[in-house]
Amino acid sequence: MVSNTETDSGRAYAPARVRRLTDFELTLPALVLLVLFFVVPVVILLMRSVTEPVPGLGNYVELLGSSTYLRIFTNTFLVSGLVTVVSLLIGFPVAWALAVMPGRAASIVFAILLLSMWTNLLARTYAWMVLLQRTGVINKVLIGLGLIDKPLPLVNNLTGVTIGMTYIMLPFIILPLYGVIKKIDPAILQAAALCGANRWQSLVRVLLPLAMPGMAAGALMVFVMSLGYFVTPALLGGTANMMLAELIAQFVQSLVNWGMGGAAALVLLVVTLALYAVQLRFFGTDRMGGR
């Protein structure tokens, strides 16, 4: 199964010392690390969902049959879907603007995107906890403007999680979309205009379809990333909007119920991998170019 490359075997004349490592052997340390501390632990965890407390599918029956857990599944999909839609609605115009902007202005926007992306996740979430609280700046400004009479509940609920998660996901949708739009040949849109299309027609019938593969791929990525988020929903959401990742943590940490924890982990894992498979199947890297 292991064979040296041609060039490597060509060096056999080198003075006889330690045998040269083959290419496969070079990957062995990382492989051992991953098998031992990634594959094995994850498999053991998933196995426990069908062995504890008694062998069988009892954990799955309980997890998928109870309305409490069903609400958590619904909420997880609801939050991820909302975040994805809002990110797309904001991200598309921004990516488009970036593609037509003069280089200097664009590089400022890129720097800010990177700064926000690279800033510690907890620091960003903390900022939103403070901004959105009852006595926070957002409520004060809204009251000051006379838009509301009393503070809105913006945190520990769906609004809080959606704002906080959209904030985190925006760069992940803007950056790939920018790449896709930048690659579209402006001549195609010129041709549309020459053929008599007005701006709306060009947008709906030319630009959007051309950007669609990038939008779909970006949206799917953001959706999948959101499904497994733990920190931001835990800090900005309320107990009524618990998400799947928090449920897994709760099973393990507070309830010490490894069977249910494993079952919930398997559900999250299966959904995630299935969506990634869709992504690879329909928007494999060769299709990301917007063609």
């Binding site: 064979s3 060096r11 053991i44 037509v100 700064l115 947008l203």
Partner: protein, 266 residues
């Protein structure tokens, strides 16, 4: 014409308006936290009644904050070194190897990147309970290494794929040993990939919180865990001070990256 700045007409104003607002939205929390960390209000009232360095004093006076920062730094440095070394070996093997299952192996190496972190966190926590690695530096290093390695393999692998191997072969033909050719010809040529790998690995470990929450013990915790635990109690401005220092570090890293990229290009 939709991709031509001069022919967008009033649409240009709409697009740029949304972009300016979005940029403000992205920047706002970061500036806000930095400002609040100097404000005197315990309840984070904005604008603050007066300015103070009190929260920074509290931060530096508390040995637990310093200890957790030091723990985070140690872990991140060890993870960075190991991740780059393993990433180098693995990328060489994967890029140049012609063995069976190469594609499958590549996919396996990248899986920790796409898997929900909470699953890995819970799985490793259970595993480490059995072998006694929870709450140890080794445990933190191993779990962060699993998370950082994909980024390292990707960065170095990309750089290596863009490097023409015949240049290395030429060095060997000119009398360099294979190892010498790799160290003196190939490594400098892919240094930008190694640099990215190091930065990504460092940040992955330094900012990681989900696995760390499970791994930490009362005596050993990382900075993000300390922030997390504090936030679950209350929104003290001390966290604003800590966050501001973290933001400062981010800015420094970004400047470093920009400078190094420029240096590598010229």
């Amino acid at each position: 014409m939709l991709l031509n700045l001069n022919r967008l007409g009033w649409w240009k104003l709409v697009l740029f308006g949304i972009t300016v607002l979005t940029t403000a939205f992205l920047l706002l929390p970061i500036l806000f936290i930095a400002a609040l960390s100097f404000g005197s209000s315990q309840w984070l009232i904005f604008p603050p009644p007066s300015w103070t360095l009190r929260w920074y004093q509290e931060l530096f006076a508390d040995p637990r904050w310093l200890a957790s920062a030091w723990t985070s730094f140690q872990i991140a440095i060890i993870v960075t070194v190991l991740s780059v070394l393993l990433g180098l070996a693995t990328s060489f093997g994967l890029t140049r190897g012609r063995f069976a299952f190469r594609e499958g192996l590549k996919a396996l190496f990248l899986t920790p990147m796409i898997l929900p972190v909470v699953v890995l966190a819970v799985a490793l926590y259970a595993f480490f309970l059995k072998i006694g690695l929870n709450g140890t530096l080794t445990g933190f290093v191993i779990s962060h290494l699993v998370l950082a390695l994909p980024f390292s393999i990707l960065s170095i692998g990309n750089a290596l794929e863009g490097f023409d191997k015949s240049i290395e072969d030429a060095a060997v033909l000119c009398g360099a040993s294979p190892l010498e050719a790799k160290v003196r010809v190939t490594l400098p040529a892919i240094s930008h990939g190694i640099f990215s790998a190091a930065i990504f690995s460092f940040l992955t470990s330094w900012d990681e919180v989900v696995v760390a929450i499970f791994m930490s013990s009362p005596t050993l915790q990382t900075l993000p865990v300390k922030v997390w635990a504090t936030l679950r109690q209350d929104l003290t401005p001390v966290v604003a001070a800590a966050s501001t220092l973290l933001i400062l570090l981010t800015v420094l890293l970004m400047v470093l990256v920009a400078v190094v990229r420029k240096g590598l290009k010229s």
